[in-house]
């Protein structure tokens, strides 16, 4: 009796553990024959549906680099013949939401709905996606607003540094034009372009991942209704192929800013699937907030800054860079630059320590577990993973990867994939003492530094 009782308790315990940590992915097919991945999360209260079209067609969009802005704006406006405000309020009543987006690599639609309002909310969202009004006059007004926003943003030192960094790192081409902020970006983009774009969302390239409490029976026909109006096929576009270039110079933009802004940068050869795990483990304690080496050097020792960050910049699934960013007291800018160079060189040469590696692994596993509790996060992670070529059991493979990597592998990875030296963009009140290779006074003069 006691054993039976214990077995029941054990089963309850195991069930809880599995729901907390395991992510089971099922291959499903809708009644209409559309394959999709379903992740059952029975104890959650929201159903997430992610639709993604892998579209490596930067070249095709190059003539209109502002198309993503127009898509995001116009697809969020009213369906034909409807009033936007009341529809949005009805979606709020349902606690439902959707978002349509397009990026360097992919087009996506993200939907979140509580199961009890699923059918009603899906019917509304269907109208937004398949029968949008796409009002040209609204886009025209929005264009001027985008222009003013860009003009204002381009007066900020931080964005000016980012613009110069992109120009130094990326050769001119579709990917660079996509990422650069440009006040005229929406010029020439029309509502008709958005309608044409909508017609490229073909079912033959569509991947669907769902996560949440709803059964395959409840989801299947709704998914069919949602995807049926999309065209069956569309030509696959050629992959973009941007190769980042190293630039080890220090380029200074002189202007009256309250803080000296520093962005160090370089190309990093990081693959699309699980390589980012190694890259993240590599840089985690170089930046890493208050636990990081740069924080210790610039904030704790120099008192020069409030914060410093290190990031792996994914310009597309195949194109990555590494950047170090901070804003420091102008009087301490030269010391800060020296410290950044020294710490980066030491990191590249010596790699991460045993203690840093152990702490990083522990926190990455913890963060990953936290990300498995919300259906939206789970579905997005899985669809982005498989679109990049990860296996369907993305989470299991991820865990295996994190747990099996050794410190030696991470340190070898640093030397193989990260640049030995970085370039520096500095926006400062004065270039004096900063060891500049090229100095400009206005962003528009970037070409004089070969950017």
């Amino acid at each position: 009796m006691i054993r039976l009782f214990s077995a029941i308790l054990l089963a309850l315990g195991l069930a809880a553990t599995a729901s907390a940590q395991g992510v089971r992915v099922e291959n499903q097919t809708t009644p209409g024959g559309m394959p999709y991945l379903r992740i059952p999360m029975p104890n959650t209260q929201m159903q997430s549906i992610q639709l993604l079209w892998s579209d490596q067609g930067m070249q095709a969009r190059d003539a209109k680099p502002g198309l993503p802005i127009a898509v995001s704006y116009l697809m969020g406006r009213e369906p034909r013949g409807e009033k936007l405000g009341e529809l949005l309020e009805t979606l709020r009543d349902y606690q439902a939401g959707f978002h349509v987006s397009t990026s360097a690599n992919a087009n996506g639609i993200s939907i979140t709905i509580p199961p009890e309002h699923f059918a009603s909310a899906m019917a509304l969202i269907h109208k937004f996606i398949h029968d949008p009004a796409l009002p040209q006059d609204r886009l025209d007004t929005y264009r001027r607003d985008v222009e003013l926003r860009a003009i204002q943003a381009l007066r900020q030192g931080d964005l000016q540094a980012s613009q110069l960094r992109l120009r130094a790192l990326m050769p001119d081409g579709p990917l660079r034009r996509y990422h650069l902020t440009d006040q005229k970006k929406l010029d020439g983009v029309t509502a008709a372009d958005v309608r044409t774009w909508l017609g490229t969302l073909a079912r033959d390239r569509l991947r669907i991942v769902t996560a949440g409490p709803m059964t395959a029976e409840a989801l299947g026909s709704q998914l069919d209704t949602l995807v049926a109006p999309f065209p069956a096929t569309w030509a696959r576009l050629p992959a973009e192929n941007t190769i980042l270039r190293p630039d080890r110079r220090t380029i200074v933009l002189e202007r009256p800013v309250p803080q000296t802004i520093i962005q160090a940068f370089g190309p990093a050869e990081i693959g699309p699937v699980f390589d980012p795990i190694r890259a993240s483990m590599a840089v985690a304690r170089l930046g890493g907030g208050s636990q990081g080496r740069l924080h210790a050097a610039l904030r704790d020792r120099l008192g020069a800054t409030y914060g410093v960050s290190v990031s792996i910049d994914s310009f597309s699934w195949m194109v990555h860079g590494v950047s170090l960013r901070t804003a420091v007291s102008p009087e301490l800018a030269a010391d800060a630059l020296r410290a950044l160079r020294e710490e980066y060189a030491r990191w590249w040469q010596e790699g991460v320590s045993e203690a840093e590696f152990a702490a990083t692994r522990s926190s990455m596993i913890g963060n990953r577990r936290a990300s498995r509790l919300q259906p939206g996060t789970v579905a997005i992670n899985v669809i982005n993973g498989i679109a990049r070529g990860a296996p369907v059991d993305y989470y299991t493979a991820y865990d295996r990867e994190v747990e099996s990597i050794t410190r030696e592998e991470v340190n070898a990875y640093i030397k193989a994939r990260f640049p030995k030296e970085l370039g520096f963009i500095v926006v400062a009140p004065s270039a004096a003492g900063l060891g500049a290779d090229c100095v400009i006074q206005r962003l528009e003069e970037a070409a004089t530094c070969g950017l």
Binding site: E89, D93, S290, D300, S329, S362, N367, A370
Partner: protein, 446 residues
């Protein structure tokens, strides 16, 4: 039979827990536990019910925020490293707002539980309720760090500089006109002694709360907390000037203009301050949250519908803010960038017109109120994951609301009537104090 009885007893024990438990447990007078069996880690927060608006003489100089930095970076006897680096694989931070200072720590999953980490944190923060240590050199370095934080968040942002000036002019010398981090001048003159004086005044066991989200037994947590917090003296807290209502004079509408070279899109803010009868703070917060939801909606006749969609005077960044600034005093403000091709005066007048319309019409129907209430109730039902409960509880306590009324928030919302909402609208129909502020490009610069 015995097995069935035992199983029935077990289920009886579990069922009410699953169906009725509020998702947290009050472990002792000042300590709450949010049990989280599925936890990916542990979160520990200490909330001090004192923030920037509680600074001496109601003059907001950034001392409360500076003290938060000093506690997190100082080296103390309980932990030789800075508290920011308490656990090698964890993270730590702090934040200060007008009325609270909060310290938080995250620790990733531990195979053997979190007792050791929780004990260490309680030991550390119990000691911080008595005093804190930091060398003069470290305090001076941290003052420079705060100055850089100020320059990054405020000095580099024309919008932040504008709002700081608007607040100061609108509220006069009242703490509500202060800027939490202070100004370059006030930060330059801050001293360690002033931080110690703020600590002495406000950091006391009767003015703090601890909220821990973890997989730990209540009894174990209670034992750890009781042991650490035993003997900490209660203090008589100072009177905060933030609770003195600001003056409404001069009552006539004012206009303030600021130009900045980095601005390309003019921004208009219209604010109105009014008096309102207040008998129950929590109930009033429920009323204000529902009115806020309405004025920020897209319903027909809402500010967005009128100013953005119909009149096309404002860009779609229009925001409306309704808040209580002191007992019996509320402020409604509209902020939006001017739409392309629109004269500044037209947006100004449209915003002023909306406030006048709101004062007359309020929330137009019972149906609107019913929808807004249902949304809050649905949202609450959906926010029962431990991280969500933890976050709501911390916000509640940091706002200075009594924990006894946390659980009844849904009932409080459900009890609000259209008359309650009408009282808010009516308050803005009285003269009050109104100010229009404009942030614009430097003339001839564009």
């Amino acid at each position: 039979m015995r097995f069935i009885l035992a199983l029935a007893a077990l289920l009886a024990l579990l069922a009410p827990t699953a169906a009725q438990q509020p998702g947290y447990v009050r472990v002792s007078e000042r300590v709450f536990l949010v049990p989280d069996r599925a936890a990916a880690g542990m979160r520990f927060e200490m909330i001090v019910n004192a923030g920037a608006f509680d600074e001496a003489e109601g003059k907001v100089r950034g001392i409360a925020h500076y003290l938060e930095h000093l506690i997190l970076v100082g080296r103390n006897a309980e932990h030789s490293e800075a508290a920011m680096r308490m656990f090698a694989d964890g993270s730590a931070n702090g934040w200060t707002n007008d009325r609270a200072t909060v310290y938080l720590h995250n620790v990733p999953a531990r195979p053997n539980g979190y007792a050791a980490e929780i004990e260490k944190l309680f030991g550390f923060y119990a000691a911080r309720l008595r005093d804190f240590s930091i060398t003069a050199a470290d305090a001076e370095r941290e003052r420079k760090v705060v100055l850089q934080e100020h320059d990054q968040r405020t000095q580099s942002s024309p919008t932040s500089l504008f709002y700081r000036e608007v607040n100061q002019r609108f509220f006069g010398g009242h703490p509500s006109g202060g800027w939490i981090i202070g100004t370059r001048e006030s930060i330059a003159s801050m001293t360690l002694a002033e931080a110690r004086a703020f600590h002495d005044a406000w950091y006391a066991i009767n003015n703090v709360w601890f909220v821990i989200r973890a997989d730990i037994a209540r009894e174990q947590l209670k034992e750890i907390a009781d042991r650490a917090l035993a003997g900490l003296p209660k203090k008589a807290l100072p009177t905060s000037l933030k609770n003195t209502p600001p003056t409404l004079s001069p009552p006539a509408p004012e206009t303030f203009r600021m130009q900045h070279a980095d601005v390309a899109r003019p921004l208009v803010v219209v604010g109105k301050m009014a008096r309102i009868a207040e008998t129950d703070y929590i109930r009033q917060q429920a009323v204000l949250s529902l009115v806020s939801a309405y004025i920020n909606s897209r319903f027909d006749g809402s500010a967005h519908d009128r100013l953005v969609e119909t009149e096309r005077a404002s860009a779609d960044d229009l925001g409306l803010y309704l808040r209580r600034v002191a007992p019996g005093t509320i402020v409604l403000s509209l902020a939006g960038s001017i739409a392309a091709g629109v004269e500044l005066a037209r947006l100004e007048s449209a915003m002023q017109g909306y406030i006048a319309q709101f004062a007359t019409v309020g929330v137009p129907s019972d149906a609107h109120l019913a929808r807004l209430k249902q949304r809050v109730l649905d949202q609450l039902k959906r926010s029962m994951h431990p991280p969500q409960i933890h976050s709501r509880l911390v916000s509640w306590l940091a706002d200075g609301r009594p924990p006894e009324r946390f659980e009844a928030w849904a009932e409080t919302i459900a009890s609000i009537t259209r008359d309650d909402l009408a009282a808010v609208a009516a308050a803005f129909s009285a003269p009050g104090k109104q100010m229009t502020s404009i942030l614009e490009p430097v003339e001839g610069a564009q």
